[in-house]
Symmetry: C2
Subunit: 270 residues, 2 copies
């Protein structure tokens, strides 16, 4: 079955795009067919991969706004096994342009349903969300089967988690009852910090208390390994490269590869 | 004259709040009268200082929405020389609630004008902006005299700068002709990284090319020292403390103190 994962956090600069690109690259490198969808008007996903979102024809904006545009028309082959749907700054207008559209949260899901019916197949679809809980993120949540929350193990980062889970719960009760929160992905992690350890302990306590309950995060975990802070991960996008291309043996590359392997095993077992 | 500074960056998690609190604390500690205004519905500024924004009576929301609320009613004395106007999550509704208000970008400026006329005085007013270029940020820009842009020396962080400066230029040409961009404050800086140095060089080149022109950033600089990445800065808010209270001799405290001193000297010279 296709795994559809939304990388979600309304807080900015927490590692959503870096994780989407590098997890996607690690999965593709391991032989899985991967599609990355950029839902952020900043267009950093395409930038990170060295793709020019504005010259590539149809992208996320056209896919959401134009009923005549199919998913196939919006897909670029970025790397072997790694397809991309690009975002451009036009996407910023989507929120208002779609304000009166019918079922404006289900557009992404519908375009994908049509594509699947037509035989399109990937093993993993990763949705890079913008730092907000608006229409673009809601389209991701209406389509996704799971949510991964990239975040830093900082006190201030914990504060937004409640509101994020509320939004997931809302969509889960409404339009997407199978939506699950798979867990938290710790990014830019500094393992020597006792503060970091306390925040991680707090997260684990929170998820443990939800075990056996009816919430969407009742079997959520804190993924290990944490992705360590590693400047190579910030350098790679300036060359339009994934971390596996830019610095295949650096800690950042190791962490994302290990994460990809663990997620595949996890998913296989369920 | 009162320095009114907006700490601005539509990108999230770049150090706006950490810088507002700690620069403010350093200025207050040096004997200046400081007011911090939280314009972010996340309310992290109050959280950072150990103030409960929701129980403190009037805050930014009431100040913007209720003509009967004066600035004086919204002020809390957080520390010696350090006053605060708190934000609560209600502030998230301000954008839509003010959509049809007259001169909805000038509300903050008007409330302050009334307060100044009544004799209110601070040496420095720092405005902590949310990660967006919407109504709350525009109120900051309509009132501020200068803009400081906290950012990380990362490739992806450079990408949003153009749009940020466009917005400043718009407000500068319209409602606030004296608005200047004082410069960029490098946050979470890793000085050993050659990538960081390249990004800093790029920023300096960009500002040098603007010298002598008519833009709002024609005398902008990259402030030194950069504020180094230092986990203490992420720990302090979990205790409701400024860095000067939490770890007065750590690199984070040193950097913000040095910065405060340099800014004061800079401002004195102009
Ligand atoms: N583990 C890491 N070590 C060092 N730098 C990192 C790491 N992960 C991400 N970065 C850098 O931190 C910044 C923020 O990361 P990223 O853009 O992935 O976050 P985001 O959540 O997608 O941000 P936004 O909310 O703006 O979309 C980027 O400059 C990125 O290159
Ligand atoms: N120099 C630093 N070293 C280590 N951690 C830092 C540093 N500066 C800020 N942080 C931490 O990084 C995170 C983001 O910082 P901060 O909240 O100040 O950014 P922001 O721009 O105000 O974010 P937002 O856009 O959400 O308002 C916080 O958890 C903060 O504690
Ligand atoms: Mg992103
Ligand atoms: Mg902030």
């Amino acid at each position: 079955p296709t795994r559809v994962v939304a990388l979600l956090n309304q807080k900015g600069g927490v590692g959503k795009t870096t994780s989407t690109v590098n997890l996607g690259a690690a999965l593709a490198d391991a032989g899985h067919r991967v599609l990355l969808v950029d839902l952020d008007p900043q267009g950093h996903l395409s930038l990170h991969l060295g793709i020019d979102g504005s010259t590539c024809g149809e992208g996320t904006y056209e896919l959401l706004l134009d009923p005549a545009v199919s998913l196939a028309a919006a897909i670029q082959h970025a790397r072997p096994n790694l397809d991309v749907v690009s975002a451009t700054v036009d996407l910023a207008a989507a929120e208002s342009e779609l304000a009166d559209a019918d079922d404006r949260h289900g557009i992404l899901a519908r375009k994908f349903a049509e594509a699947f019916a037509g035989g399109a197949r990937w093993d993993y679809i990763l949705l890079d969300c913008p730092p907000s809980l608006g229409l673009l993120t809601l389209n991701a949540l209406a389509f996704a089967r799971e949510v991964i929350v990239p975040m830093q193990a900082h006190f201030l980062a914990l504060q937004g988690l409640g509101r994020l889970l509320e939004t997931v719960a809302l969509v889960g009760h409404g339009v997407n009852p199978d939506l699950r929160v798979a867990g938290v992905l710790l990014c830019m992690h500094e393992s020597q910090s006792s503060h970091g350890r306390e925040v991680v302990a707090e997260l684990k306590r929170f998820f443990n208390e939800a075990r056996g309950s009816a919430v969407a995060w009742s079997d959520a975990t804190v993924f290990l390994p944490a992705v360590r802070r590693n400047i190579k991960l910030a350098e790679a996008p300036s060359f339009g490269q994934t971390i596996l291309e830019y610095a295949p043996t650096c800690p950042g590359a190791m962490d994302y590869r290990t994460l990809a392997t663990r997620l595949v095993e996890d998913w296989r077992r369920r």
